[in-house]
Amino acid sequence: MSVAALPDLDALERALHAGIAEAADESALEAIRVAALGKKGSVSELLKSLGGMSPEERKSAGPAINGLRDRLNAALVARRGALKAAALAVRLETERVDVTLPVRETPAELGRLHPISQVIDELTAIFADMGFSVAEGPDIEDDFHNFTALNFPPGHPAREMHDTFYLPTRDDGSRMVLRTHTSPVQVRTMMSKKPPIRVICPGRTYRSDSDQTHTPMFHQVEGLVIDKGSNLGHLKWILEEFCKAFFEVDNVKMRFRPSFFPFTEPSMEVDIQCDRSRPGEIRFGEGSDWLEILGCGMVHPNVLRNCGLDPDEYQGFAWGMGIDRIAMLKYGMPDLRAFFEADVRWLSHYGFRPLDFPTLAGGLSA
């Protein structure tokens, strides 16, 4: 074959480029590639013909044909890319959604913990940090644990301070009660554990009383420390620390007033400083008002004795307060009765999100 036998390379290239540019989709483009660069393609045939040429012919025809092939390949790649991008653009356009449609709210944003549960977790965080553990006991108690061991002699008028719920009288004449306070848990703790003792006892308590500010069921938390030297001064410090931590204020003044409980001697009631000048809001740690929040005292020697502890060897203190009440004070809930009405509007408003776990590190009400 002679050089003169070579077809017009320029014309061929022009025709191929025109075809590539016109290819409407990837299959048309592929047809052009096969026609030019396939086994029997026009350009492939030209490349094959190089083998039959003389060295001189090859010297000029080789670069021309190879050049043609390379430009053709590049054009094919470019066109393929362009076609792909265009096809994707069309597809994406058809896949459009209305992103303003609302999604489901996360269940964890809808669920709530009752304020009582949250406040018990707060109390636990504060007192655990001071080395207290949590003790619990039965709601249905016997007379010994609820009254007698706590130095309420049978028939004593102090028993009448508690409007007690009774279960039916048994054959032996005894009758169980619904615990009127969480103090029987203190008795159970002292009877089962050797001092030193540091516990808090949160739980349900019952009194047959129902009006604007009383419900037949409510919640108390009590604390108990028994060892050989803890005194009222320590109790004062613990309660101050507790009030600061719980109400999340830097400082709070407290007022201790002598009082009476059968199970402590000396006994006291504690008021904390507050400001009630703003309607519907109480602020702690400021102002000149006092609000009673708890009762406390040194554990009565008779109670220690009743629990098998020698009052000349051991001493300690106890305190108690209403969980519902301190929850109301801290979070500004106006009505105790609503705590037990299970109204989801109330629970959603005053309740706590499950991920808001009170910690001292992150803040109790974070």
Binding site: E105, A128, H156, L167, F260, M298
Partner: protein
């Protein structure tokens, strides 16, 4: 306990203010509940003179009065009182005055066409008595223009304190004064009581029956008394603290009840037949008491009787028959001691509260029994005249003297408060204690009126409450030195985790009553007699709950009734299977109602709205069990949930014989009985029944094994009878090779065309994880064949064609 400042001043001399008193009372444990200053409220009411009173031109029953108020020209007042007349001195209130008895503020009015500039007032309108009979009539020398309260001596604050049950001595004003004096407010006025000699032997004798709860009973006759209304000062005193004056004899007993904490009783001697006997009542006896009610008596109750009948409920209330009235000329005065527990029991049994009961059940000063009678005698003689007999005393005044060894160092040991020996001894002395010794351990004798003082801890309280609790130093309380250990028990941790796990699934925590109605308790496996309250507060709160579900279902319905029907509630709390401590369990339960699905409540554009189903409840229960550390993979599910669940749409979680909980749709007839609309699904898990986790020696987690070889997944569709449980198919497949098969998942359940009418198709995907080498096709096929063989052997399944 109420008293007036002026009454206190009779027992407490010196210069002090109302604030000094109230501050000190709070400081020493006599909590001030309120201070009422009537003067402040009634300052606008002044004494006035009716210059003229003439008939109202347009009304028969009204009068037109010109009233001299002491301030300028007389003013015209229209008055409807029948006793409004010319020349009367009365009480006037000008326009703008608040009238407490009518709860109005006076304006200038026109009454039947005539202007009225103020009002002439009755005692009731000032809330000074219930006397509505007419306007107040004052003597001619009453000074016009002066505030009425100043003139009548009502400008006297009334202080109300809460007296704790241990401080019976402060139920008398004298005792309050003693405490105040010890605390540095004023000086106690403690005049000796001079006995009044008897002119003749008491003609009435007293016998105390051997089983009567009465240690001592003192009595004397005063004959020739003139009874009638007591003088104004005494009436005013009693009224100021809310008591109603009756007559002089009765008023004297009330006065001493509050003045000295010494309740007394007066019998009209002419109505008493024969001698008095203190004894237990007999079955069938009754008494018409002074409150006008008749009380049925029994032998638990102590009475005073004469030859005729029971005349008085000992220490609680006297009888109407022998009571004193204006005609009484001879009076028997009783001053007795009663056993506190018996008085308390009697009062409770009869539902009778009285000032005497309140004091006797707290314990009064035994040593004051006879002095109290002497004091009463003196007052009666002063007010009513008469001639007293000698005192007869039946029984004996008990000697309550006891000595307490008191180490003075105990005060600091128990309280941290540092008070010198001298200060402690002096403080006790001021309170009436006798102290022998001045340092170290002293010997202390409490006074007779302090029956509450038992031991040295009581003495510490006496010292610190008087010297001041503000002296107790706040002392840091360090943690003990032990390592920080978790403070919560497994059950406590589970309780709080269960709550947060459920809230994170969109349920809202309720706290419902621990008691439900009897029918509700019975529906949920409870209702036993042992768990029914003897004194429920309401009939629907009568029985201890056997389950949390009835309370939650009712709460769900209450929310539905408020228009919020897609409600998901939970509670974690105690349930009761019996009355022993071990019969109480910590349950976690929840309900979902209507469209309250786990993915979100209500309808949503992205999914077809479908009501809650048993699997929602199952998922909730499993979430708690997982959070509680239960071995969830080993749980068995049986279809024998309790009767309150839908029999075909419920299940029970077990670990062997241990039943841990139930879930499912609530039974329609149970919902109907609870007056609740379905669909409602629910679950209950007993957290105590979840096994304790094994204690591990280390916190290190087991080594992670990662396989280098590709996992393989194979799908199977089995056709089984509809009665076959999918769980059994999964179990059979998983059991073929527990090492190789890492997961079996049910991805389709189909019933309908293409499958026999009584059959269903259950499609599984089984994941295989080779550990040593890549599986060959032949090996995979071998496992697949084993799975098919095993499933069909265990369940009768055939591979779907």
């Amino acid at each position: 306990m109420k008293f007036t400042l002026s009454w206190l001043r009779e027992h407490l001399s010196g210069a002090y203010t109302l604030d000094d008193v109230t501050d000190a009372l709070n400081r020493i444990g006599l909590e001030v509940e309120g201070v009422e200053d009537k003067a402040a409220k009634l300052r606008g009411f002044t004494i006035a003179y009716v210059v003229s009173a003439v008939q109202h031109p347009n009304a028969d029953k009204l009068r037109l009065c010109m009233v001299d108020t002491g301030a300028g020209e007389p003013v015209q007042v229209v008055c409807g009182a029948p006793n409004a007349r010319t020349g009367l001195k009365s009480v006037f209130s000008p326009p703008g005055t608040y009238i407490p008895g009518k709860n109005i503020t006076l304006g200038i009015g026109t009454i039947r066409g005539v202007e009225s500039r103020g009002m002439l007032c009755s005692a009731a309108e000032m809330e000074l008595s219930e006397d509505h009979d007419g306007i107040i009539e004052l003597p001619d020398d009453a000074p016009v223009g002066v505030p009425y309260v100043d003139w009548i001596g009502l400008n006297d604050p009334v202080i109300e304190i809460a007296v704790t049950p241990n401080r019976a001595d402060c139920l008398g004003i004298h005792g309050i004064a003693r405490d105040l004096a010890a605390a540095g407010v004023g000086t106690l006025v403690d005049d000796a009581i001079v006995p009044v000699p008897g002119a003749y032997p008491c003609p009435v004798s007293v016998t105390i029956a051997p089983d009567a709860p009465c240690p001592a009973f003192a009595l004397r006759l005063i004959r020739g008394v003139t009874n009638g209304p007591s003088p104004d000062w005494l009436q005013a005193k009693l009224r100021a603290i809310g008591l109603r004056p009756i007559n002089a004899l009765v008023d004297v007993t009330n006065l001493l009840t509050f003045d000295q904490n010494r309740p007394l009783h007066v019998f009209d001697a002419k109505k008493v037949q024969g001698d008095l006997v203190v004894r237990r009542a007999r079955e069938g006896e009754s008494l018409l008491a002074l409150d006008g009610k008749t009380y049925a008596l029994d032998p638990s109750i102590c009475v005073i009787s004469d030859d005729r009948a029971v005349e008085s409920l000992a220490g609680v209330m006297g009888g109407e028959e022998s009571g004193c009235d204006e005609t009484t000329t001879d009076v028997l005065v009783e001053s007795a001691l009663w056993e506190p527990i018996n008085i308390a029991a009697t009062g409770r049994k009869l539902g009778l509260n009285s000032d005497a009961r309140f004091r006797f059940e707290r314990g009064i000063d035994p040593a004051f029994t006879v002095p109290g009678l002497e004091l009463a005698t003196k007052l009666i003689l002063d007010l009513c005249g008469g001639e007293p007999s000698e005192v007869v005393l039946a029984g004996a005044i008990p000697d309550t003297t006891r000595v307490i060894d008191f180490p003075l160092a105990l005060t600091e040991k128990l309280t941290g408060l540092v008070a010198s020996d001298a200060e402690q001894v002096e403080t006790l002395g001021k309170l009436g204690f006798t102290v022998e010794g001045t340092s170290g351990t002293v010997r202390v004798t409490p006074p007779s009126w302090r029956g509450d003082i038992e031991g040295k801890a009581d003495l510490v309280e006496e010292v610190i409450r008087i010297v001041g609790l503000d002296r107790v130093p706040s002392t840091p309380f360090p943690r003990d030195e032990t390592a920080r250990k978790p403070v919560l028990t497994t059950l406590q941790l589970r309780t709080r985790k269960a709550k947060r796990a459920l809230a994170a699934r969109g349920l809202v925590e309720a706290v419902t009553w621990s008691f439900v109605s009897k029918p509700q308790a019975e529906r949920f496996g409870g209702g036993s007699a042992a768990l029914a309250l003897a004194n429920p507060i309401a009939s629907d709160l009568s029985d201890m709950r056997p389950s949390l579900l009835p309370g939650l279902i009712r709460s769900g319905q209450a929310n539905t009734d408020r228009g919020l029907g897609d409600v998901a509630l939970f509670e974690v709390g105690q349930v009761f299977k019996g009355d022993r401590p071990q019969d109480q369990f910590m349950a976690a339960s929840g309900i979902r109602r209507a469209l309250a699905r786990p993915a979100g409540a209500g309808r949503h554009w992205a999914a077809k709205a479908a009501p809650v189903d048993a699997f929602d409840a199952k998922a909730d229960a499993l979430a708690i069990l997982a959070a509680s550390g239960a071995p969830v993979a080993n749980l068995q599910i049986s279809t024998d949930a309790p009767a309150w669940f839908h029999p075909g749409r419920s299940g029970t979680f077990r670990l062997g014989a241990n039943v841990i909980g139930h879930f499912g749709e609530l039974h329609p007839s149970v919902l109907e009985a609870l007056d609740a609309d379905g669909p409602v699904v629910g679950f209950e898990v007993l957290l105590d029944r979840v096994p304790e986790p094994k204690v591990k020696a280390t916190r290190v987690k087991p080594l992670l094994e990662l396989s280098a070889f590709q996992p393989v997944e194979r799908d199977f569709a089995f056709v089984v009878p509809r009665s076959v449980a999918a769980g059994d198919i999964v179990k059979a497949a998983a059991g073929v090779d527990r090492k190789l098969i890492t997961a079996v998942n049910v991805f389709d359940v189909y019933e309908g065309p293409g499958v026999d009418a009584d059959a269903k198709s259950v499609a599984l995907s089984v994941a295989l994880q080779p550990r040593e080498k890549t599986l060959t096709d032949a090996e995979i096929e071998a496992v697949a064949a084993k799975i098919v063989a095993e499933v069909s052997k265990k369940t009768g399944a055939t591979l779907r064609g």
